[in-house]
């Protein structure tokens, strides 16, 4: 944990204890025909080596856009980063040349995407796509790259790796395909992996297997992991800390167990209440009323106010700063004390 949990985010010097990745006051906007969509509005978060940060939020909360900005794979234009810093190992990646960023991608920061079927190239064998990492970044020969690909497939426990290395993505099951995506991200032993909803497209049983695999692979190394998800159930076991995003801002961040025990933001509270529970079987499932805001017309004040059961006048006028709630905890709610209280 670092001391940058406030919105102001006083820049910490890049020392040996500096986080692996630190996002400071990041803004991302998209220029569309209908106006400027502000997808990310001043996000701060950090990940240390060996740590797992879960970024939680609904579709359109800006969690994936933040990740794409870190990876440097945003489409620009229409995307634009008007403000902010993304410090990786102490260096601002937004100030690097395109070539320097390319060399970080895949080698130092890797990404696992949501839908492995569409994210893998349909006309190239998985062995080729895995081997490409070694051939491009390490200059290995085709043959050596293939041998490494087989090792990788073994490592993510794909049965019969040697026989299947020349198969194509459509010949694998959903869970196996996601393992291939994970293997691809692991290939060059990056310092940081960003997993963007890695289990959303999978069956529940397969979801658990894939999450266990990710957690286990991370335990074996010092790599940092950013896990982007909208599924609170998934994060409890793997994450060290959680950042909850809403309308392009972080509304709450906290160590994982505290947030489950005692949320400090009404939105987080709503999310936790909407998890189906066996002991409430038969009762109506709780849902946060209303819809996530249109990013072209984000409500004034706290973006969550139209859906918030606790909203007061101040919520409709003033954007709440990220209040420090406790050690390594913050909540962007004017009434965080009241939220914690009840």
């Amino acid at each position: 944990m670092t001391a940058t949990d406030t919105m102001a985010g006083a820049p910490a010097p890049a020392t040996a204890t500096a986080p692996l990745l630190e996002v400071r006051d990041l803004h991302v906007e998209f220029h569309t025909r209908d106006g400027v969509a502000r997808a990310v509005n001043g996000v701060n978060y950090s990940v240390n080596a060996g740590e797992t940060l879960a970024v939680l939020g609904e579709s359109g909360s800006g969690k994936s856009v933040t990740a794409q900005a870190i990876m440097g794979i945003l489409d620009m234009p229409p995307g634009r980063i008007p403000q902010g810093e993304i410090l990786f190992q102490g260096q601002d990646m937004l100030k690097m040349s395109a070539e320097a960023r390319r060399k970080i991608r895949g080698r130092k920061i890797a990404m696992i995407f949501q839908d492995a079927l569409s994210s893998l190239n349909p006309v190239l064998s998985v062995g080729y796509q895995l081997g490409e990492m070694f051939r491009v970044h390490q200059g290995l020969s085709r043959k050596a790259a293939k041998a490494r690909s087989i090792e990788l497939m073994d490592r993510v426990r794909i049965p019969g790796a040697r026989a299947r290395v020349n198969d194509y993505p459509h010949q694998f099951s959903g869970g196996m395909r996601q393992r291939i995506m994970i293997a691809m991200a692991l290939a060059l032993e990056p310092d940081l992996i960003i997993a963007d909803e890695p289990t959303t497209a999978l069956d529940v049983t397969v979801q658990a297997q894939v999450m266990d695999l990710l957690a286990e692979l991370q335990r074996e190394s010092t790599m940092g992991l950013i896990l982007i998800t909208h599924d609170l159930g998934v994060v409890a076991d793997v994450a060290d800390k959680i950042a909850v995003m809403y309308a392009g801002r972080i509304v709450e961040n906290a160590p994982v167990h505290e947030i489950y025990r005692q949320p400090a933001h009404p939105y987080t509270k709503g999310l936790l209440q909407s998890i189906p529970r066996v002991d409430r079987k038969g009762q109506e499932l709780y849902a946060i009323k209303g819809l996530p805001p249109n990013l072209l017309h984000v409500p004034a004040g706290c973006a969550f106010n139209p859906r918030c059961p606790m909203a007061q006048d101040v919520c409709r006028t003033d954007v709440p700063p990220l209040h420090t709630v406790g050690a390594g905890r913050g909540s962007a709610c004017h009434f965080w004390k009241e939220t914690l209280g009840d």
Binding site: M71, I73, R102, K103, I104, R105, G106, R107, A110, M111, F113, D115, S118, S119, L120, N121, P122, V123, L124, S125, E132, M133, V136, H137, Y168, H170, M184
Partner: protein, 307 residues
């Protein structure tokens, strides 16, 4: 795969018979070849009947067709109006036209895919609009207009290229006719590639390729282009036949003595063996190109498997 090829080859038989029979009927309807031999003079009826018998013209149309097919499978395509065997004409004409077609095909594929890639990657920008406007113009103007205009300006006025092709049709002389022949197809290839590239550029696997840290060149050639070219290859393959047939006009303009020239002569002189013989070979080339495209399709896209 082997079974698939055999099935496809068998399917070609009725197509081959159907097309050649249609052509045979149409050429027969052109007029009386014996009368054509005598030009303006009316032939002596006895002589005419004798020639008619010698040329197997005194039988019914289906019988003539069967007779003709038997003949060509023994390698006898009959004699042309000049008295030369048709096979001799083919021997001189096809190499020329094939060379012209290959030049045109190379121009079509390279320039078409290049322009399409450029436009597709810069969708909505100046280069894209330029390519769209240019291809629209090319498609809208008939080949004979493009041909004569380019021949006049590049060949006659500015002396950039030879306005006519020399005997033996050297490759250098064939570049301008090749360009004219390729023009319309080139425009279609460019537009097809553009759409395909623009669509695939947004695909998830292209984003993955970028996230892997691959150099841009590799992302475009290995990942984007490879997928985008699948529909383009289909078009290019079937267009080989189209180019050879389209050469009729181009060969007239640039005075190339190829298939188009011989076909034109055959029609002008109402000589069935020439016309039917040449078209039969063209049909075979067209069918072979189609089969090749379908097989290539499976190579390009592993999701397609033929059983």
């Amino acid at each position: 795969m082997g079974r698939y090829v055999i099935r496809r080859l068998l399917q070609m038989v009725p197509v081959f018979i159907g097309t050649t029979f249609l052509i045979f009927v149409m050429v027969y309807a052109l007029g009386d070849p014996v009368a054509a031999m005598f030009g303006d003079r009316a032939p002596d009826p006895a002589t005419a009947a004798q020639i008619r018998h010698a040329m197997y013209l005194d039988h019914s149309l289906p019988a003539q067709y069967v007779h003709y097919m038997k003949q060509i499978f023994t390698g006898n395509f009959g004699t042309a109006a000049t008295g030369q065997p048709v096979t001799e004409l083919m021997g001189s004409a096809f190499p020329v036209t094939i060379r012209l077609t290959l030049v045109a095909f190379a121009i079509e594929a390279v320039a078409g895919i290049g322009l399409g890639l450029l436009a597709g990657m810069r969708r909505g920008r100046f280069a894209d609009t330029g390519v769209l406007a240019f291809t629209l113009l090319v498609v809208a103007v008939p080949t004979f207009v493009t041909g004569y205009v380019l021949q006049y300006f590049l060949g006659v006025k500015w002396h950039v290229a030879n306005p006519a092709v020399a005997e033996g049709a050297p490759i250098g002389d064939l570049i301008l006719p090749g360009l004219v022949l390729a023009a319309v197809s080139l425009a279609y290839v460019a537009r097809l590639t553009r759409t395909s590239v623009a669509e695939n550029a947004r695909a998830d696997y292209v984003r993955t390729a970028v996230a892997k840290g691959l150099p841009k060149r590799r992302v475009v050639t290995v990942h984007l282009l490879r997928n985008s070219l699948i529909p383009v290859v289909t078009f290019l393959g079937t267009d080989i036949g189209g180019l050879m047939a389209g050469a009729v006009v181009t060969e007239r303009i640039f005075n190339i003595h190829g298939v188009g020239y011989q076909l034109y002569q055959g029609i002008l002189r109402q000589n069935p063996p020439t016309v039917v013989g040449f078209v039969t070979i063209l049909v075979i080339i067209f069918l072979a190109a189609n089969l090749l495209v379908d097989l290539l399709y499976a190579v390009l896209d592993p999701r397609i498997r033929y059983a």
